[in-house]
């Protein structure tokens, strides 16, 4: 197999994985997904599985995982859009959607493979490496890890294959790992000292080093015998914190440690990016432990609810209580 054919083959795999991240559609469109799923060796997905994977559990947009507030759009999405523009490509409506990014990556790989040796090929290679490093690896290792854990079987298989392909690609594209500086999304992340709502922070993966899915929160509730409130993750998490603050903080710290451990395994290939996720998760675990210890101490000594969780390193209490943080968490809600 020539290098060019090999590259084209890789491109096809990424494009196929991108297409598989799109909704299977109505009966006729589903045939395309079924065919691709068969080719990559995963079960044929259906719309309910897709919804569970990409709507309920893990929204497939980079900005959710890379922005400082864990929200769709914003600076992170602008950065991704800027990359499309830099390649002189029209920016699609969902430029940071995993399907769009994998399709873009396949296009760049094909373009590089089709270009004869020369400056333009070098530029395309650099673009490929930059795209991989800045806008794929920066979040997809974490994302696929989460999907493997909580996604429906078809998409768990999809994410494992994608993860394997990304790691293989990283090893092949030398610039993507090693001593390359952190992707700008991660480089510019604020520290945890910022006085934000703790819930917001816990739902911003690039800041905490872990992803919290609905399935994770439901599992936490089950493990601690707590009730699960129906709603978005923010409401679910707040409800758990209200019902059992020490238990929830412990569970979250354990969750963070498990993420630190799983990210650490990627460090040999994905170097500084994996190390970033590891370090962030470890720091968050420490802060959560510290907060829990402070909570326990305060309750023990004063019979009161947690003292100021704002002390570094710490996470702060929910937004609704922000005004009373110096006096401790209010229980009037």
């Amino acid at each position: 197999m020539t290098a060019q054919v090999l590259e084209a083959t890789r491109a096809d795999l990424f494009r196929a994985l991108g297409v598989l991240a799109e909704p299977p559609g109505a009966a006729r469109e589903r045939a395309v997904h079924d065919r691709l799923a068969e080719l990559v060796g995963m079960a044929a997905p259906d719309r309910s599985a897709w919804t569970e994977a990409f709507v309920v559990q893990l929204v497939p947009h980079a900005s959710v995982y890379l922005s400082e507030d864990g929200m769709l759009g914003g600076v992170a999405a602008d950065r991704v859009a800027g990359f499309w523009r830099a390649l002189r490509l029209p920016v699609p409506a969902d430029a940071d959607h995993v399907a769009a990014l994998l399709g873009l990556y396949a296009t760049v790989v094909e373009a590089e493979a089709g270009e004869p040796a020369g400056p333009r090929r070098v530029l395309l290679h650099e673009a490929r490496a930059a795209l991989l490093h800045e806008h794929l690896l920066s979040w997809l290792l974490a994302y696929t890890s989460a999907m493997s854990a909580v996604g429906p079987p078809a998409y768990a298989a999809w994410s494992e294959l994608l993860r394997e392909a990304l790691l293989a690609e990283t090893a092949a594209v030398s610039d993507a790992g090693g001593s390359t500086p952190l992707p700008i999304h991660l480089r510019d992340q604020p520290g945890n000292a910022d006085r934000r709502d703790v819930i917001d922070e816990l739902l911003a993966p690039a800041r905490t080093g872990f992803i919290l899915t609905r399935a994770d929160l439901a599992r936490a509730a089950r493990q601690h015998g707590l009730g699960v409130r129906l709603g978005d993750r923010r409401l679910m998490l707040r409800s758990l914190m209200e019902q059992d603050p020490p238990g929830t903080l412990r569970w979250l710290a354990d969750h963070a440690r498990s993420w630190a451990a799983r990210s650490r395994t990627d460090e040999t290939v994905a170097g500084p990016i994996a190390a970033y996720w590891t370090a962030r998760a470890a720091q968050t675990a420490e802060r959560l432990d510290s907060a829990r210890r402070g909570l326990n101490r305060s309750e023990r000594e004063n019979g009161e609810r947690p003292p100021g969780l704002q002390d570094e390193p710490a996470v702060r209490p929910p937004a609704a209580t922000a005004a009373t943080t110096t006096e401790g968490v209010s229980d009037d809600h």
């Binding site: 795999l13 799109e22 469109e29 691709l36 990559v40 920016v91 399907a99 769009a100």
Partner: protein, 972 residues
């Protein structure tokens, strides 16, 4: 079981893709699947299922055959997909064709509205012959045979009696690449008459004098700066294909500069909106050019290598050394007077705006895409200098045929050679190409009534085809006067799908198919690539796909509606049944000698022999080239054409070469056979008969441009030699509506814009479009409105040189003070109930036999019962006002373009004046014509070589060279 390795999985996907695409099928579903719906994959076009919207909430499946064709509602030629119901074999709707390289599956409102036109209850469904006086509205149905025989006999007689110039074909929207021109050539008549001089010939002239090619092809997608003269984003010539690429470029950070006196929708999208006094555009463009020159921000190497500066110095500054340094000095001197202050004074645009635009342009480098088509170039005396000065910016920056620059259109267009190319006709028709206008790029079509009235000739058989001069042209009532005079026009045949103001005054009205009911082949410059598009009768293609054989498009079209290809073949056959006139040979089948050519054979031959790559692409799908085009509707031949002028001429083309003092290289080698016969300039051979093959640049013979000298003609020796030395370089000619030319109480009327969803006569029978746009109020600045004493919706009377019209005012700050604007494409009318009832007012039209005409409105439109339930839901009554009737002709003495802008007086309407009232004095109109004729420089006096016209210039249906000679005795 262990999972396959990554490489194995990737290999499987790749192999499946290769196999699928080798079958011509779609492997991945579409360009964007996240939010945008995918287009129906092409392998499902035979049996596409959609839910019936009218059955909601029941889920009823409808099965469709998707058949491509091309929209005919403007010249963009966007791809359409007809959804043909497999049960009823009726077209249910039209959507975009994703396989079309120009429009890429996207359409404007006019594309889907084609279905309205197909089902229009007022459309003409059978051939009609006048049964009363011309214009009386009395018609009787006739057979095609009867009509064809009478028309054929008249034409045959005219040819036999050597009255070839009495046969004329007058076309509005061509929508095809040369088929009908070749029909006329086969008859040996110089009878082609286009609408172009009321449209784009001004802009064409400016481009042609620079490049030898008469259209630009801006590569908007890759531009850093896009400079548009007029509202191309909403209604420009190739507006949908261009607009989507401008939008793409803007998403990538490109800056958009729009020159438009009105705050058009396009202007609202601009980074820089420039609202000049009409006609001052070249002053601003030259100020920008002067800025580039003054600050040294132009591409010196490009100018040195590709401008004909040596020819210029030789002709105009023989005392100076013929060095580039000397030219740069002269260049600086020539344009030093075009300061920002001067431009601001002429245009009324603030200096800071002009400076900002100049600065933006100066940073574009070779990624400056520019476009001018109608607008200012069609509005002003000397308007052709708008495009000439605009292209000068490209020429200064080297943004010519570069990514993001502007190409000559011929490089981005492909006109396949057909099986027969008849020779150039041996006659010259002075009714269309008069000696007063030797440099006109196109026929002086809009002067025809005046020429006929002056006794310059008469017409035996006159075809109007998708053309409505009574309504579209200026001075329409002069048209009406000659159309009703049977001594001037013997037989008027209107080839039209729908009623028009002109068709009412025909002898035969012959129904021709709409876009999805006819064959045409076309290719347009919409990006840096070449493609061909195939318009086809979709029901014919659908039936053939279902296994039927269709030999005549009338079998599938509604009623007795035909199509033109088959009509012209049949008519030509009947003109020369025995072949004695030498006409029939061009209509004989190659496969069946002696028998009549079919359209399948005609297009089949082209697709098999003249479209590179198409046979291979078709074979890969197991199709014939014709079947491929019937299936997909378009084919991209090449993209990324690049700078053809830089291509070295191969040594084997340089046989016994000769070279003139300016590096123009000639050869005795025959031109290599070309399958692309795109029109372009045809520079003359050298005195020994060698053909021009290239131009030497820095020692290398390169292809160059199709100009006499082979380079970009900053200096046009053609203009200088033919009496216009004062206009031989890009310059600023003051318009006829320059403030110095107008009285203090006059305003400039801009009438050259249109509402985006209407398109001349053709949009008028599409109800959806009529509902969107059906009136044309007069844009009036608040200061002018206050002076006149009117508010929005008040009636105002607009007085022109030859009459007036009464219209409603729309007071808006979106127009400059001192300028008013009124959209054309409005004000349709009919004299009786016959006609389009959804966009034609019913009017009374009277005259006093001395050329004084009055039109008054009897009624607007109203709901009516018909086969289309929608016509009962017509909620509007207004249809606008037909302002063009009140405009005299203003032919530019160089380009021949009608200069549309009018100097008018606007006053509050008197109580006895009503909306839609029009008064015209055609005697005065003739006086204005004569006054403008006085501006010309006649070939009989100024021709340098005794010919009527420079032979190298492009010309539709160019006659044989001998016909160019001015007859003895005519030269003064």
């Amino acid at each position: 079981m262990a999972r396959a390795s990554l490489e194995e999985i990737a290999g499987r996907v790749s192999a499946a893709r290769t196999q699928t695409e080798a079958r011509g099928e779609t492997f991945y579903p579409g360009p964007s699947r996240v939010h945008l719906a995918a287009f129906p994959p092409k392998e499902r076009w035979d049996d596409w299922v959609e839910l019936e919207s009218k059955d909601w909430p029941r889920r009823t499946e409808r099965r469709y055959m998707l058949v491509p064709t091309t929209c005919f509602n403007c010249e963009s030629a966007c791809g359409l997909l007809a959804y043909v119901d497999r049960e009823t074999l009726q077209v249910r709707k039209f959507e975009g064709n994703p396989e079309h390289p120009g429009s890429r599956g996207r359409n404007c409102a006019k594309g889907p509205a084609t279905v309205n036109q197909v089902t229009d209850p007022d459309r003409i469904l059978q051939p009609l012959k006048r049964s009363g006086p011309r214009g009386s509205g009395q018609w009787e149905p006739v057979s095609w045979d009867e009509a064809l025989d009478e028309i054929a006999n008249r034409i045959r007689t005219a040819i036999v009696e050597e009255r070839r110039n009495e046969v004329m074909y007058h076309v509005g929207r061509p929508g095809e690449d040369g088929f009908t021109e070749r029909v006329l050539a086969s008859w040996g008549v110089d009878g082609h008459n286009s609408h172009t001089n009321v449209c784009s010939s001004g802009a064409r002239a400016g481009y042609h004098f620079w490049t030898g090619i008469d259209r630009p092809s801006p590569d908007h997608t890759n531009a850093e700066v896009i400079l548009l003269i007029s509202s191309h984003l909403e209604s420009g010539h190739y507006f949908n294909p261009h607009a989507q690429r401008i939008v793409d470029a803007r998403a990538g950070g490109a800056k958009l500069i729009v020159f438009d006196t009105r705050l058009s929708n396009t202007a609202t999208h601009a980074d820089h909106w420039v609202s000049p006094h009409p006609g001052s555009e070249p002053a601003i463009l030259l100020a920008i050019a002067a800025y580039l020159i003054r600050t040294g921000r132009y591409d010196r190497e490009f100018v040195r290598r590709w401008w004909n500066w040596e020819e210029y110095l030789e002709a105009e500054h023989p005392q100076r050394p013929r060095t580039f340094a000397a030219f740069e000095t002269v260049l600086g001197e020539l344009y030093a007077g075009y300061t920002f202050e001067f431009a601001a004074q002429e245009s009324g645009v603030p200096i800071r705006t002009i400076e900002a635009v100049a600065e933006a342009v100066s940073h574009a480098g070779s990624r400056l895409s520019t476009h001018s088509w109608r607008s200012a170039a069609a509005g002003n005396l000397g308007g052709w200098q708008v495009s000439r000065t605009l292209f000068m910016l490209n020429a200064l920056l080297g943004a010519v045929a570069t990514p993001g620059g502007t190409y000559p259109n011929a490089w981005n267009k492909f006109v396949p050679r057909p099986m027969y190319v008849p020779p150039h006709p041996g006659t010259w028709n002075e009714l269309t190409w008069p000696l007063e206008y030797p440099l006109a790029l196109n026929e002086l079509s809009f002067l025809l009534p005046h020429f006929l009235k002056e006794g310059r000739g008469k017409i035996d058989t006159y075809f109007t085809r998708v053309y409505n001069p009574v309504w579209t042209n200026p001075d329409g009532l002069s048209w009406l006067e000659v159309l009703t005079d049977e001594s001037l026009i013997g037989l008027h045949v209107a080839l039209t799908p729908t009623w028009s103001e002109t068709a009412f005054f025909a002898d035969y009205v012959l129904p021709m198919g709409l876009g999805p009911e006819r064959h045409d082949l076309h290719s347009y410059e919409q990006y840096d690539g070449q493609w061909v598009g195939f318009r086809q009768p979709v029901l014919r293609a659908a039936r053939e796909r279902a296994g039927e054989t269709v030999a005549d498009t009338r079998q599938v079209n509604p009623g007795e509606v035909w199509e033109e290809n088959e009509f012209w073949i049949e008519l030509s056959w009947r003109i020369d049944r025995d072949g004695n006139l030498g006409i029939r040979q061009y209509y004989e089948s190659k496969q069946r000698p002696g028998e009549k050519l079919t359209v399948d054979e005609y297009y089949g031959w082209i697709f098999e022999n003249s479209v590179p790559g198409l046979p291979e692409a078709a074979a890969a799908e197991g199709l014939t080239p014709l079947a491929y085009m019937r299936r997909y509707g378009a084919f991209e031949i090449r993209k990324g054409i690049g700078p053809i002028h830089e291509e070295p001429v191969p040594d084997d083309e340089l046989v016994d070469p000769a070279e003139n003092a300016n590096g123009r290289v000639y050869t005795r080698a025959e031109a290599p056979p070309a399958s692309n016969i795109v029109p372009k300039g045809a520079p003359d051979p050298d005195p020994e008969g060698r053909r021009p093959v290239g131009v030497r640049v820095d020692g290398v013979v390169r292809r160059g441009f199709p100009t006499p000298g082979g380079k970009l003609e900053f200096y046009s020796r053609t203009l200088a030699d033919w009496g216009w030395q004062d206009a031989a370089i890009p310059g600023y000619l003051r318009s006829h509506v320059h403030p110095d030319e107008m009285d203090p109480d006059q305003l400039v009327l801009i009438s050259t814009f249109r509402l985006p969803t209407q398109i001349h006569t053709r949009g008028g029978n599409a109800k959806w479009l009529d509902e969107l746009a059906h009136t044309n109020p007069l844009w009036l600045h608040p200061t002018d409105a206050a002076r006149i004493g009117v508010a929005t919706s008040d009636l105002v009377t607009v007085e022109t040189e030859i009459g007036y019209f009464v219209v409603k005012a729309w007071v808006t700050e979106g127009i400059r003070p001192g300028v008013v604007a009124c959209s054309h494409h409005m004000g349709r009318w009919k004299l009786r109930e016959q006609g389009q009832r959804q966009l034609m007012a019913t009017v009374d039209l009277d005259n006093d036999d001395a050329g004084k005409w009055r039109m008054s409105r009897r009624s607007g439109v109203k709901p009516y019962p018909s086969s289309d339930p929608d016509t009962a839901r017509i909620w509007w009554t207004d249809v606008g006002v037909h302002q063009n009737l009140t405009f005299p002709v203003h032919p530019d003495p160089i380009s021949g373009q009608h200069c549309w802008h009018q100097a008018v007086r606007v006053r509050k309407a008197r109580p006895d004046e009503s909306y839609g009232d029009i008064a015209v004095d055609t005697a005065k109109a003739h006086e204005v014509y004569q006054r403008w004729l006085g501006r010309t420089r006649d070939a009989r006096k100024h021709s340098p070589d005794g010919t009527r016209r420079p032979h190298w210039l492009m010309r539709p249906l160019k006659p044989a060279k001998a016909a160019f000679l001015i007859p003895d005795g005519d030269v003064t």
